[in-house]
């Protein structure tokens, strides 16, 4: 094979890897069930990527004792969270080590346990709550916004409530569809 063809093959392989990344997310966005998650934005700005909002969700901090399903999780374990439709936000029902079959009106969201603890800070009650807690990442913790706008979303005014609309596909993977302020779309992801 000539050098030109070999370089073309390298480009083909690398382009294929990038297309797989794009296709994976597009598929989730196109086929996923739409759910809305309650958020608590924290800590903005990435040097290389313009502004972004670091998002923390209510379902990022789970207490298995208050939910159904499995209890014994360790750091870096995979976790499946069964969510039930609520108004306006979807709520966790149970946590599992293996993917459960969701009943109607439910979805399963896959995450990874980033840490475990015996107590955690509850921002709603503004106090430390005793009991085993799982800290979970779902891969939807960053939302990139036009430069200069990250800090405004990061620190909303008292009457602004930030939430995220997410598409969850059949593999329990999630992709961000829209950033909502007081339930209204502020940023919406278009397909291509």
């Amino acid at each position: 094979m000539s050098l030109g063809w070999r370089i073309a093959a390298v480009f083909g392989i690398q382009a294929l890897a990038l297309i797989c990344m794009v296709a994976d997310r597009q598929w989730t966005l196109m086929t996923g069930t739409q759910i809305v998650l309650e958020t608590a934005p924290v800590d903005p700005r990435s040097l290389f990527s313009g502004d972004y909002v670091a998002l923390s969700y209510k379902v990022s901090r789970l207490r298995p004792a208050e939910l159904g399903g499995d209890r014994d999780f360790r750091r870096h374990d995979g976790v499946y969270v069964l969510l039930r439709r609520g108004e306006p936000y979807w709520e966790p029902v149970s946590v599992h080590k293996a993917a459960p079959t969701p009943p109607p009106g439910h979805v399963v969201l896959r995450g990874e346990v980033t840490d475990t603890g015996t107590r955690s800070w509850d921002p709603e009650q503004r106090r430390t709550v005793e009991g085993a807690t799982l800290f979970v990442r779902y891969g939807i913790e960053s939302y990139f916004v036009p430069e200069g706008e990250g800090r405004a979303i990061e620190r909303p005014t008292a009457d602004e409530k930030i939430s995220i609309r997410v598409a969850v596909d059949a593999r329990a993977r999630a992709a961000i569809q829209a950033l909502l302020v007081n339930g209204k779309e502020r940023y919406v992801e278009q397909l291509l």
């Binding site: 050098l3 073309a8 390298v10 392989i13 690398q14 990038l18 990344m21 313009g50 939807i140 278009q190």
Partner: protein, 454 residues
């Protein structure tokens, strides 16, 4: 290489008439020799051009990334993807065009730019789709892409980038995701070694040796600063193992030099082994490095794993020494090389004794390692002079100076008044530095005169 050839050409122009006068070279061959060397100097790529092209690729890549990062929000998603794929394809297309027309340095620079753009594209697509996944995987994909470029386009630049990325990937896994020693690092590393062997890439071999040592260092740093449970208090044990790992690499390098197929790779392996052995010895010369005992984290029991690993490494060194000196009567060796056997036995006994003592005698153990370090460095300098290898002499002098400085700070920081400490230190540095540098120059000049490389 081109600069060397030009220097060689100038030397030949001076020397050849003398050789012809002495009858060592036939007069009719004089011009043919000069033409041949001049042609080689002209046809080989010039280092300055290669370095400028590589720097140009890096700067252009950084500029492209920051430009699009600053204006990213204004560009529609489809246009963003078109820009990313177009830039990658255009870059590889331009590289292919240049290489096909013999513009080697620019072509290689563009291949490196392609590798950088591939990495930028991974993270920019993650940004476009708000992917906040397990980010070391992004670096892994980038490293594999760089390896593919190196293999397909025979690009040493791309392989150097792949090795750096594989080390970065392993560092992320080790420091940020706490999954124990990251053995998967050796998959891309071994693949890189295969390419190095195939294409005789010595720069990439030096980087591969550096990556291996970097991986070893990350392991011990993760244990030191992040208190990883899998290291289980074995920091001192690990440094002792690294001493013998360095020695094993050194002996392996010496053995490689016997075989025509491997000889060209020997020097970087020897240097990496010597650097690592002396650096690990240096760490062990501090009493503080001996105080983190293994038993402290095991409730008084001495874990078999560290004893086993140390013994395995000692056996490896013993096996390599047996291979190296097989069929060579020891009495025929110079005295200092016979001394190496005694040094190794003492070092092995000290390492095992230190494990058993387990932090009980940090001062004495550090004293023992100081003696081993000084004798090891002296041995390195003698080897460098004997074998006409100036780099070993330089290495030995450098470590000797660092060792002296460290001991001066250790010993006199608390004993002397601060102003006196600095004044004495300054005088010692000036006088000692002058004497050391004079000795080093004298020895390296002797080596150069005998035809050894610097």
């Amino acid at each position: 290489m081109a600069r060397l050839r030009t220097g060689f050409l100038q030397r030949l122009q001076t020397e050849l008439p003398v050789w012809v006068r002495h009858g060592w070279v036939a007069p009719q061959h004089q011009q043919s020799i000069l033409d041949h060397v001049a042609h080689q100097a002209e046809s080989s790529p010039r280092y300055l051009v290669i370095v400028l092209c590589a720097m140009g690729a890096l700067l252009l890549g950084a500029g492209v990334i920051t430009f699009f990062a600053a204006n990213w929000g204004l560009i529609p998603k489809a246009a963003k993807l078109a820009i990313l794929f177009g830039a990658l394809g255009g870059c590889y297309g331009a590289a292919s065009f240049c290489l096909a027309r013999g513009v080697e340095a620019l072509g290689q620079g563009l291949l490196l730019l392609g590798v950088l753009l591939f990495g930028a594209n991974i993270f920019l697509i993650a940004q476009i789709y708000h992917i906040d996944a397990y980010y070391p995987n992004g670096v892994l994909v980038w490293a594999v892409g760089a390896l593919a470029t190196a293999a397909a386009a025979r690009s040493q630049f791309a392989l150097v980038a792949a090795l750096a990325l594989a080390t970065l990937w392993s560092g992320m896994e080790t420091f940020e995701f706490d999954r124990g020693p990251h053995w998967f690092f050796f998959l891309p590393w071994m693949a890189a070694l295969g390419l190095i062997y195939r294409h005789h890439w010595l720069t990439a071999l030096r980087v591969a040796c550096g990556a291996l040592l970097g991986w070893c260092l990350m392991l011990v740093l993760a244990g030191h600063f992040m208190d990883r449970p899998w290291l289980a208090g074995g920091r001192m044990a690990l440094w002792q193992i690294y001493v013998f790992l360095g020695i094993a690499l050194y002996i392996l390098g010496r053995g490689m030099s016997w075989y025509p197929r491997w000889a060209r790779f020997a020097a970087p392996v020897i240097t990496a082994g010597a650097v690592w052995a002396v650096a690990a010895l240096f760490v062990l010369t501090f009493p503080e490095s001996q105080r983190f005992g293994v038993r402290q984290e095991f409730g008084g029991a001495l874990p078999a794993v560290w004893i086993g690993a140390t013994v395995a490494m000692l056996l490896l060194v013993a096996g390599l020494m047996a291979w190296r000196y097989h069929g060579t009567p020891l009495s025929t060796l110079p005295l200092y090389r016979q001394g190496a056997f005694i040094w190794l036995v003492v070092a092995g006994a000290l390492a095992l004794g230190n494990l058993v003592a387990d932090g009980l005698y940090p001062g004495w153990m550090a004293f023992g390692y100081n003696l081993l370090s000084v004798s090891g460095v002296v041995w390195l300098v003698m080897t460098g002079v004997d074998r006409a290898e100036a780099r070993l002499v330089n290495l030995g002098f450098m470590f000797f100076a660092v060792l002296l400085l460290a001991r001066y700070f250790d010993t006199f920081w608390t004993l002397l008044g601060r102003s006196f400490f600095f004044m004495v230190g300054g005088v010692l540095l000036l006088v000692g530095g002058f004497l050391l540098e004079r000795s080093r120059r004298h020895l390296t000049a002797r080596i150069a005169a005998s035809g050894g490389g610097a």
